[in-house]
Symmetry: C2
Subunit: 382 residues, 2 copies
């Protein structure tokens, strides 16, 4: 094991009906007024919003509302939330929704206690060290946002998609109720599976040193995702599979997978962010295209790791067969594996390569993300 | 997955030389004076104590000392620590040592902010909800005490070995430096392996519902313990194996193994505690005797689970063969598997059964821990 620090103070309340205890959880921290952040009005029609606010009412916790958070959440809504949080003197943020809602909640929580512009945290002009307490009810299993301190936000003006990570932006309590996640479409379930795979493989297939213990840990996550996705596509109401899928998603990005590993990278997320920013493709669908294409490039760097992946996950003998098996599995569950299947024009490759390379230069990562490397990955995705 | 709550705020600082940063870690929480709790004077001779106190000096953190903590730590030393902590106005406890030192540190931290008798927490007369902050440098991998909130202490007067668990008794920061754990004897390494196995199997082989994800998670811990123990018995200086062994030990009892499981029990620890209280046997050595003997009794309750264990861990086809393989492995690494090998007289069985049954009655668990069950386990250990 290489040296590492592990810290994750988020309390997970997992199970049926736990959202109805949110008032109780918040009251345990002595808080009196929250800003509820959410996406569409669907959560009001479904009754979820009402269940949570009823639990707040019962504990005498007041609330303000900020709806309308969209996928690839935008900075303008974060500003709106910060303004509300400050003017209404709320003392916590409660996100009800998926990754976009949770990420926005974290950014609002950090911005609400900061005198300057919250975007400073995203552009490394300042480091966030405090935030309002964050609570969440996670309605989609994929991002792991319920148990990490990442928040990804897009600045519409500058067209930058950037992230923050602060010791203060871990949710205090996150509710994970698999029943609330059961309404996802088959399509988005497949994309979610691809997202969890990418979180795992971005580490597993890039780390220059991977302890055997961590390799086995990640393989268990991947096997769980394969098994439960297949069950859920046949039987959306299978609570056990839904629960294990949710917990695998949480564990794939709560920092347990990179304890003791060395030099892991986030290639596929880096590449996909530009793809989904330029074309209207779901993040997970972009990843199911990028990951196998990227693997064909990356396999030469860590051949033994790729052979292990092939054997352990798909019982195949070579790295190539392992990648092919993953592609076939994505196809089987309904996730795209080519640019064409994702409705991304091949003519866009050059433009995406240019944008990605410019981004890589800004991050000082252009020795890795060369135009040649980026072009190869996109060519592999044809 | 069954409903669960997961919460573990301990920050782990893992790696070489991390103990020399202890002053830095403590200063990050604004603390000025600590009580250092430790066992024998060996840590002064080895230089460990000096390294840690040098780091405290550098950050202007004052310290008091309480040495002399023994295995199966006793209440009188906890009282002594509480007295010191109160009279010297320390604002944190720093344990340097193994499980006994850490457990004592937790009890002192809880008792130091309590007006009454700390033993109230152990006997359920009161619930601990606050404590001084706890820091630790863990010198023996086995108990998981570095990343959980358990503290087991023996009251010498009443001869009771009891435990506390409070949200306030998680260490704030624990240093796990595998190099500091490399001086353990081969004998104690084997006992530690048996302890980690027991922590894992007490859950894995008793839960009436075990999610597949968690089963795979625990099997990965068990395989890691087998692999790294064998490496370390041949090559005590193997840092990678030492590190994985340490991290497996931490994860076996940091509450990740029982997320979503139902009705797990702690039979073998329950039984062994009386064995080590009555006879001078190391906890881990007691466990390597009790576990296979108990398995022969338990296997009829969960035959499929035992068959899975046999297959996954030892590639054997039946539950019986799996148990035999575990016994053989314990023998191979030098851990005892019979009462005789542990120097425990068979004449003592009846007395231990009586004591255990009385304990079970006190806990309201005598329907499970019947005299017949307890006798069967000890008879199996002959």
């Amino acid at each position: 094991m290489k040296d590492f620090a592990y810290y994750n103070p988020t309390r997970i309340e997992f199970g049926k009906g736990k959202e109805e205890q949110m008032g109780q959880y918040i009251s345990e921290y002595g808080l009196k007024k929250v800003l509820i952040v959410y996406g569409s009005e669907r959560i009001k029609k479904s009754g979820l919003f009402g269940k949570v606010t009823k639990s707040l009412d019962e504990k005498g916790i007041a609330y303000e509302e900020l709806g309308g958070i969209i996928s690839n959440p935008v900075l303008s809504k974060v500003y709106e939330g910060i303004e509300l949080a400050k003017s209404k003197n709320v003392d916590a943020i409660l996100g009800i929704g998926g990754a976009s809602v949770l990420d926005s909640s974290k950014a609002i929580a950090a911005g609400a206690v900061y005198e300057g512009d919250v975007w400073d945290f995203f552009t490394f002009k300042a480091q966030s060290t405090e935030a309002l307490r964050i609570f969440s009810v996670m309605t989609l299993a994929a991002s792991g946002s319920e148990m990490n301190n990442y928040a990804v936000v897009t600045n519409e003006e500058t067209k930058q998609k950037m992230s923050i990570r602060s010791t203060a932006t871990f949710p205090t309590v996150s509710v994970v109720n698999p029943e609330l996640q059961a309404t996802v479409t088959k399509e988005y379930l497949a994309y979610s599976a691809a997202d969890i795979f990418a979180h795992s493989l971005d580490m597993y297939l890039t780390a220059t040193y991977l302890p055997e213990y961590i390799a086995g840990y990640v393989e268990n996550i991947l096997r769980t995702v394969i098994r439960t996705t297949e069950v859920l596509l046949e039987d959306a109401g299978n609570y056990e599979a839904r629960g294990e899928f949710a917990w695998a998603a949480t564990n794939a990005l709560n920092f347990t997978t990179n304890c003791g590993v060395e030099n892991n990278r986030f290639d596929t997320h880096f590449i996909e962010h530009t793809m989904s920013a330029e074309y209207n493709i779901a993040h997970g669908a972009g990843l199911s295209i990028v990951v196998p294409a990227w693997m064909k490039w990356q396999m030469n760097l860590l051949p033994d790791r790729f052979a292990r992946f092939a054997k352990e996950i798909f019982n195949k003998d070579t790295a190539e067969e392992g990648i092919e098996a993953l592609k076939n599995w994505y196809t089987k569950i309904g996730a795209p594996v080519t640019l064409k299947e994702g409705n991304i024009p091949e003519e866009g490759i050059e433009m995406m390569v240019e944008k990605l390379f410019a981004g890589a230069q800004m991050l000082g990562a252009d020795a890795l993300y060369t135009k040649e490397m980026l072009t190869t990955v996109f060519e592999n995705a044809k």
